[in-house]
Symmetry: C3
Subunit: 344 residues, 3 copies
Amino acid sequence: MAEGRLTAGAIARLVGGDLVGDPNIPIAGAASLDEAGPGDITFATGPSHRAALARTHAAAVFLPPRLRDASEGPQTRILVQDPRAAMLTVLAGLESPAPPPWGVHPTARLGQRTRWEGRIAVGPGAVVGTDVRFGRDCRVGPGAVIGDGAALGDACIVEAHALLASATTLGSRTRVKTGARVGMDGFAWVPEAHGHRRVPHRGPCRVGSDVEIGANATVDRGSLGATEIGDGTKIDNLVHIAHNVRIGERCVIMAQVGVAGTTTIGDDVQIGGQAGLAGQLRVGARARLAAQSGVIGDVPSAATVSGYPARDHRTVLRQTAALARLTPLLPTLERMTRDHADRD
Amino acid sequence: MAEGRLTAGAIARLVGGDLVGDPNIPIAGAASLDEAGPGDITFATGPSHRAALARTHAAAVFLPPRLRDASEGPQTRILVQDPRAAMLTVLAGLESPAPPPWGVHPTARLGQRTRWEGRIAVGPGAVVGTDVRFGRDCRVGPGAVIGDGAALGDACIVEAHALLASATTLGSRTRVKTGARVGMDGFAWVPEAHGHRRVPHRGPCRVGSDVEIGANATVDRGSLGATEIGDGTKIDNLVHIAHNVRIGERCVIMAQVGVAGTTTIGDDVQIGGQAGLAGQLRVGARARLAAQSGVIGDVPSAATVSGYPARDHRTVLRQTAALARLTPLLPTLERMTRDHADRD
Amino acid sequence: MAEGRLTAGAIARLVGGDLVGDPNIPIAGAASLDEAGPGDITFATGPSHRAALARTHAAAVFLPPRLRDASEGPQTRILVQDPRAAMLTVLAGLESPAPPPWGVHPTARLGQRTRWEGRIAVGPGAVVGTDVRFGRDCRVGPGAVIGDGAALGDACIVEAHALLASATTLGSRTRVKTGARVGMDGFAWVPEAHGHRRVPHRGPCRVGSDVEIGANATVDRGSLGATEIGDGTKIDNLVHIAHNVRIGERCVIMAQVGVAGTTTIGDDVQIGGQAGLAGQLRVGARARLAAQSGVIGDVPSAATVSGYPARDHRTVLRQTAALARLTPLLPTLERMTRDHADRD
C-alpha cells in the first residue's frame, strides 16, 4: 500500500525489535492483516488475531514476544512489546510523499514587510498580507490566505484554501487543515429598533503550538479579549469555535462540535462528535463530553456527561433504562392513579 | 423561470405524452403551479391540485390522463402517466447553462506526467499535481486542488475550491461539489506522556462512480486500509466521513451527518440530516437512520432507528408518548409510593 | 489591544457623554475590564462590576451616571446612559484596519459584460463570470468565485474563497463570509430502478439586504421556485440551508443549524446552534428554537421549543424533571403494578 525502500532487518533496527527470519526481505509498505499485500509488513497484538494471521498475505509481521512461535502468519517476524506502536513508527517513516519544494511559487503574492526565518514554502495562488511573520520551515498551501499582521511560529502548516484572518497567531508546529477559517469576526449582534447591529470584533485569535485545526473548521476571533486555543489541542473537521472561547491544552475535539461564545474549556478535555456547548460556560479540566451531548451548564472537572441537557452520564443511562421499563407499565399506572384518586 | 427554446409540441414528443391544444405554443421555462409565469410549463398530479391549477399563470401543464378534461388550468395540456417525472425530464433539458469551454485555463497548473483522455476542462487557478490520471470529459473548477497520484474516471466534476488529496480515486460521473475536501489525513491520535501522537494515514480514499459529495463536506483517507464510498451514493453538504469508513452503494446521506472512524454502512442506507454514528459500528443494508439520531451500536438491516441513543423508531415514539402521559401523574405516583412504603 | 489616535475628550463627544477628568488623555484601544491595558478605554454597567473596576488597568471608563463617583476604577470617566452601546460605538470607530484598495487585481478574472457602478475591489485570483452586475462599492475577496449572471446590490462583501453560484442575487450591504457557498444545486433525488436521478435545480437563490452568511456555510438554490433569505437575517458559520427554503427578515440563525428543503421560516425567528429543521415545515414569526432542537412539525408564531422531537420548552423541562423523579421510584412502581395485577 505505502511505498518505500526498506528491509525487514532495517525495520527491526528502527523499532528496536528482535528479528526472526530473513533480514533482507524487502518491505514495500505497511497495512492491516486483511489488507496487506505480499510486499507489506503488518501487525498482530494477541491470540484473537490468529485467524487473520493465518490468512494474511503480508511478508512480515510485528508480534509480541509470546506469539513468537505462533504457527500462523508470515515467518519473518519482528518481536516488540507494542506491535501497534511499532507499526505507527514504520508508517510514519513511510509517510513521506515528497513535500512540495521550499520557496515561494511565482504565482503567490506576499505583502510588504512580510518575513520569515530560514526556509518557507508558499504554494501557487496563495495570498499573504503585509507584516506577516513566519518562523522557520513553514508551509503555506495553494490558494491559502493569510491576513495582515498574522504571526506564525516554526514549522507551521497552513493547507490549501485555509485562511488565517488578520492578527491571528499560531505557535510552532501547528497545522491548519484545508479549508479551515481562523480568526474571522464572530457572530454577535445587538438588537436594535430595525434589525441588528454588529458587535465589533477587535480581539485576536491566539492558537498555541502543536495544535491541529481540521478541514473546513471555523474559529472566530475575539470581540473584546481573545479567542485562545491551548498547546497540543486537536480539533477535527467542521468544528465551530465561537468568539472569545478559551480552550486549554491537550484537548481532543471531535468532528462537528460547536462551542458558543465566551465558553472556557480546561486542559485535557475530550469532546465527542457533534456535541454542542452553549455560551458563557465553564468546563473543568479532564471532563469528557459524550458525542451529541448538549451542554447548557457548567461541567465539573473530570465529569463525564451526555445527553440533552447534558448531565452525569450514568444518570442518563439510568433514566433512559427507567423510561424503557416504565413504558409498558403505563396502562396499569394510569389505572392505579385513577383508583387512588377515587379512593381519596 | 428557466430559459430555453421549446414548444409544447416538442416537449410532448420529448416525454412521450399526448398533446391537447396548440403544439406551437413556445415554452420558455418550467416552474411549480404557484410560481409559473405565462411562458412556463408546470405540472399537477391529482385533484388536490385543482385550486392551484385554477390560479396558475402557466402556459401549459403536464397532467395525468384522468385530469384531461379538468375545467381549471391552462388549456394546453400534455397527458402523461407521471407528470412529475415529465417535469424532471423537461427541467433536465432546460438545465444547460453553457458549461465552461473545454481546455486548460492558462492560469491553471498541471504537474508532470498528468494526463487525460479526450477532452478536459481545468478552470482558472486550479492546481493539479503530478501523475494524476483523468478519464474523458472531466471538469475541474476554478481554484480546485488535486493531489499527486489521484485518479479520476470519465466525466467527473471537481468543482471550485474542492480538494482531492494525494492518491484519492474517483470512479466515473462522480461530482465533488464546491469546497468539499476528500482524502485528507484522518483524526486519530495515540495518547502519550505529554500530548498526542498522530496516527499516520497511508490508506487511500476510494470513491465510486455516480457519487456526489456535497459542498464543504469532508471525507478523510484511511489510516491502515481504505476509506470507501460505494457507487451511486449521494452525500449532502457539510457531511463528515472519518478515516476507514466504508459506505455501500446507493446510500443517501443528508446534510451535516457525521460518521466516525472505521464504521461500515451497507447498501441503500438512508441517513437523515445531522445524524451521528460512532466509530467501529456496522449498519446493515437498507437501514434508515432518522435525522439527528445518535447511533452508538450496530443497526440491523432494514431497521428504522431514531433518537439518542438511537433505537427502534416505534419504541422511541412509544417511550416519548409514555413520558408525556406519566408526567402529570407524577404527584399521585409519588404519593402512592410513599403510602406503599409506609404500608410495608 | 485595538489601535487608533483618539483622546478621551474626542470619545466623549463621539458618544455624546459627559467627561469627568482629563480630555487630553490618549486612548489607544478598547477592551474589557480585565483585559484592558493602560492605553485602553473600558466600560462597566453596574455595581456588580466594582471589583473588576478596582483592578482594571484601563486609562478611562464608560460609566452610567449613578457610578459617577464610584471610588474604584480609572478617574477619567465618560458618563453615558448605556456604557455597552458607547463601547460598541468606539470599537466600531477603532475597527478600521485599512481595507484593501479599490480596483481589480491583475490576477482576477472578469467575464464579459460584467459591470459595476462607481468603485469595486476584486482581490487576487478571484473569478467573476459573465453578465454579473455589481452595485457601488462592492468587495470581492481573494479567490472568490461568482457565477454567470449573479447580481449584487451596493456595498456587498464576498470574502475570500466564498462562492456565489450562477444567478444568485444579493441585496445591498450583504456579506458572504469566507468559504460560504451560495446558490448551488440542492440535494434532491428521485429513486429509480438502479440508483437515484437528480432533481434539476433551476430556481434562483435570492438573498436580501443586510444579510450575513457565515464562514463555510452552504445555501442551496431552488429546484422549482426560489430559495430566499430575507432582509437583515444573520446566519452563522457552518449553517446549511437547503433548496427552496424561505427565511423571513431579521432572523438570527446560530452556527451549524440545518434547514431541510422547502421549509418556510417567518420573520424575527431565532434558532440556536445545531438545531435541525425537517423539510416542508412552517415556523411562525418570532418563534425561538433552542440549540440542538430537532424540529419535525410546524412551530406556531412566538412559540419557544426545544428537544427532540421539538416541543414547547416548558413541557420539555417538566418532562425531563419528571423522569428524574420517576427513576428512583421505579422499583417500587414495578412492585406496585405486580401487586395490582395480582389483586385483579
